[in-house]
Amino acid sequence: MSDLSIPFERHRLGNGLRIILSHDSSVPVVAVNLWYGVGSRNEPQGRTGFAHLFEHMMFQGSAHVPKNRHFELVERAGGTLNATTWFDRTNYFESLPSNQLELALWLESDRMGWMLPAMDQEKLDNQRDVVKNEKRQRYDNQPYGDWDERLQALVFPEAHPYHHTVIGSMEDLDAATLDDVEAFFRTYYVPNNAVLTVAGDFERSRTLDAIDAYFGEIPAGRPIPPVPGDPTLPPRIGETVRDRVVADVPLPRVILASRIPPYSSPEFAVAEVARGVLGTGRASRLYRRLVRERKVAKDVVSYAFPLLTGASMLLVWATGYEDTRAEDLERAVALELEGLSDAEDAEIARAIAVTETDLVRSLERVGERADLLSMFELYFDDPGRLNRELDRLRAVTSGDVRRFAAERLGPDNRAVLTYVPEAQR
């Protein structure tokens, strides 16, 4: 057992920007990490994919930074950078040699405060093409590439903000305008909707001064409007809902998903442990029984989505062999989901031990540290939760997992997405 003691301190600027500092000088690297409280859940009707397209526009320059300069300066400094958009949030991050910290603060503050003057139609059209190619490469040109679109539509009702995917639709991407960029920026890219974390090798007081200098004069925005649509929904789907796809894939795949309590619920820790018992590692139930013993699946995957809005989702998928019947695969997976009602203490200890090393390993990188601190601050107003993550999981008992399986993983709360190869039709 290792108990985490990642140091951190919290500050807040007058404009509402939340600041986390976490010092560690073992390697001369510093991470700058920003989480904005906006994601695909905030997209208005007819603009699916816009939060992510907007993320791309954030790299197209700002009032004092010409196009391409952002990337050039960071790479010239020996830094790495990226950004990601998800359902509930968007994050931007750089890791740099520690003497280059101020460069990142300057770049991040310029686009937080002065992005709009640099926007034009040509940049929007260019990044729209890039994003459409991202969609083609990662979704449309991949076998089973539309699984998340189909699954989300099964698990979340049409009015719910998780009904549509982060990448969105080509039609909605085509419809996006510069006016949308401006409105989105003014509504969501405001200091009172963001967390800035600096982690790694830096000098404390100098860094606080620099943050104040770069970010302090950005005006606060209005309060963040509520999520569009209707985020409330029943805790269970109520039945087994299905989508069966005959597709140009060589192997059958079934994905079973259940609606589960959101990440903010204490019960989410139970979901994480349950999914570990089911599908983490080669000693897990699904791997042991479906892959090793019954040989109906060539691979299995399980995942509990850490989502905030109304409900979240636990999924399990299994890919069969050429001659596996999708119905048999589905039955085998369902049996394991329901079979969790006899989960034992030793399995739970195993699942938690694997999670523990994963977390400690990820904390070796200052970028990961910063990302987790930003998340816990933005989501839960509680960065210290990072140091208590393992306690949260260790508190889960076999009784909790059994109850969870009985209440959440039965056929009255199940979406089944099946891919059947054309050859098996």
């Binding site: 690297v29 890039v130 490469q137 990188r365």
Partner: protein, 508 residues
């Protein structure tokens, strides 16, 4: 195993391709030669006394003193049984990274037995004289460790990362799978079936189709670099338990092995655990056979099309057989590639993505191996611009040899490589990976001590010379997995080279 994590359903600004060379290193505080770059000016200082009013947002912030990072010294020694040990002490977190690396990989068996090295690697934890397959998995999970066993083109490796407190148990499992695998027939048949199913899946993935066709066209059937590491349906079907056993006996011997250990452990403690857990492990094994010749060539600009009716994009690969790992020439190759396609702001990505919007990302890399590895450039592009994208690839590749690189661009590339070094040594696994690469190539372990100086010394003349030697635009091989009915005619009209149709993927 394909995993679902956030990344699968996340949009990102770019695919942070881990394609920038294979080894990069260490030592730092390299002096900034950015004096030639106007925008990295000496700014107004970033001291705490500066008030908000003084901030000039038009000015790039001044850079302070670079932090120093000294490479923790590697202890390099050989045990009585022939096992080489490379140990680096690092105690920031209570972790230990272990990598047992074995010479040979896919080069350690005939090319006709494609997939043997990877199958053997997959099989060693599927049952031993002391544990069943399930008991191995449970022993690893119980201590929260990770165990991976993989084969590359030149080496195979068994890797474990564990909390310091479980080092003894971790080494017990590592020793067991390395020394005592039994390759039970039922597990072998299951693993074979799984791997054949993966071959079938690769035949349905456009990027994999392009990669496999590219390697095969460059190296042919007789060279170990020509076949997928995974193997083919035919080769996997033909492999026997004796093949696996023979490969294991020849390669997984202490005389072929190096243990790279990084983390919170002292030599004395490690040696005593090794003596206890690996007692009785001995033998020189067999040296891998010499690699067949591969000509430093591409294919005279032949375009091979793997037909994917209805494909949403074209997966393009452009390249040729390039040089083997070469400690002296390493830095000029990396600087050259960074200018062309190794970073986000490299020429290929700027042209194909940020200027034209043809793709989510374009890249290039030199895959440096013990033998002549490939140079490869690539992108997934919209079908309608396939021909234009190929033309841009040829132009940008040829431009390295044709024109001197502007000084500012050269400085940017050198700084990117030199200054990024500390990030490549952040975790115990990072440090282990860097050292294991050096071991694989028989390179000196102090490679990183002079790394920064060597990178910063690469001049425009060396970049151009590297371009002339390796980036021969008239002798590139081009592979495209895409919808033939839409791309064939435009590609022929392009006049880059002859167009040959390969048909659908090999496994369908």
């Amino acid at each position: 195993m394909r995993t679902v994590d956030g990344a699968m359903v996340m949009g990102t600004i770019w695919a942070a391709v881990s394609l920038v060379g294979c080894a990069v290193g260490m030592s730092t505080t390299g002096s900034d030669d950015g004096s030639g770059s106007v925008e990295v000016g000496m700014g107004s200082g970033g001291g705490p006394s500066r008030g908000r009013q003084a901030l000039d947002r038009d000015r790039v912030p001044a850079v302070g003193q670079p932090g120093s990072m000294s490479m923790p010294e590697a202890q390099d020694y050989t045990l009585d049984n022939g096992l080489r040990v490379v140990l680096v002490r690092r105690s920031a977190l209570p972790l230990v990274s272990l990598a047992f690396q074995f010479r040979g990989g896919a080069s350690g068996h005939p090319a006709s037995q494609a997939g043997l090295a990877a199958l053997a690697a997959d099989m060693i934890d599927e049952g031993t004289t002391r544990r069943s397959a399930l008991e191995v998995a449970e022993a690893v999970d119980r201590i929260g460790a990770t165990l991976t066993s993989v084969a590359g083109y030149d080496v195979s490796a068994v890797r474990m990362t564990t909390l310091r407190s479980h080092l003894r148990e971790a080494l017990d499992v590592a020793a067991d799978v390395i020394m005592n695998p039994t390759f039970p027939p039922t597990e072998l048949e299951r693993v074979r079936a799984e791997r054949i199913a993966r071959v079938i899946q690769r035949g349905d993935q456009p990027a994999a189709l392009a990669d496999d066709a590219f390697a095969r066209a460059l190296y042919g059937d007789a060279h170990p670099y020509g076949a997928p590491l995974l193997g083919t349906r035919e080769s996997l079907s033909a492999l026997t338990a004796d093949d696996v056993r023979g490969y294991h006996a020849a390669r997984y011997a202490p005389g072929q092995a190096t243990l790279v250990a990084v983390g919170d452990v002292e030599r004395e403690a490690l040696d005593s655990l090794l003596a206890e857990k690996f007692a009785g492990w001995s033998g020189p094994g067999e040296d891998p056979p010499p690699l067949p010749d591969a000509h430093a060539s591409g294919g005279g600009r032949t375009i091979y099309v793997v037909d994917r009716p209805g494909a949403a994009q074209s997966e393009i690969r452009v390249g040729r057989v390039a040089r083997a790992w070469d400690t002296q020439g390493y830095h000029e190759v990396q600087v050259t590639n960074t200018i062309l396609g190794g970073a986000f702001t490299s020429r290929l990505n700027m042209k194909l993505r940020e200027e034209k919007g043809y793709t989510y990302g374009a890249y290039s890399y030199f895959d440096q191996r013990r033998g002549r590895g490939p140079f490869e450039a690539g992108a997934a592009v919209a079908t309608s611009v396939t021909d234009s994208a190929v033309a841009d690839f040829m132009t940008e590749i040829g431009r390295i040899a044709a024109e001197p690189v502007p000084q500012d661009e050269l400085i940017r590339a050198r700084n990117y490589l030199a200054r990024r070094l500390p990030q490549r040594f952040e975790s115990v696994d990072d440090v282990g990976a860097r050292l294991a690469e050096l071991v694989a190539f028989d390179a000196p372990l102090d490679f990183y001590v002079t790394y920064v100086d060597s990178v910063l010394a690469v001049g425009a003349d060396r970049v151009r010379a590297t371009g002339r030697a390796e980036l021969v635009a008239d002798d590139m091989l081009i592979v495209i997995a895409g919808d033939r009915s839409l791309i064939e005619d435009p590609l022929r009209a392009l006049g880059v080279g002859p167009v040959e149709i390969l048909g659908r993927g090999p496994s369908s």
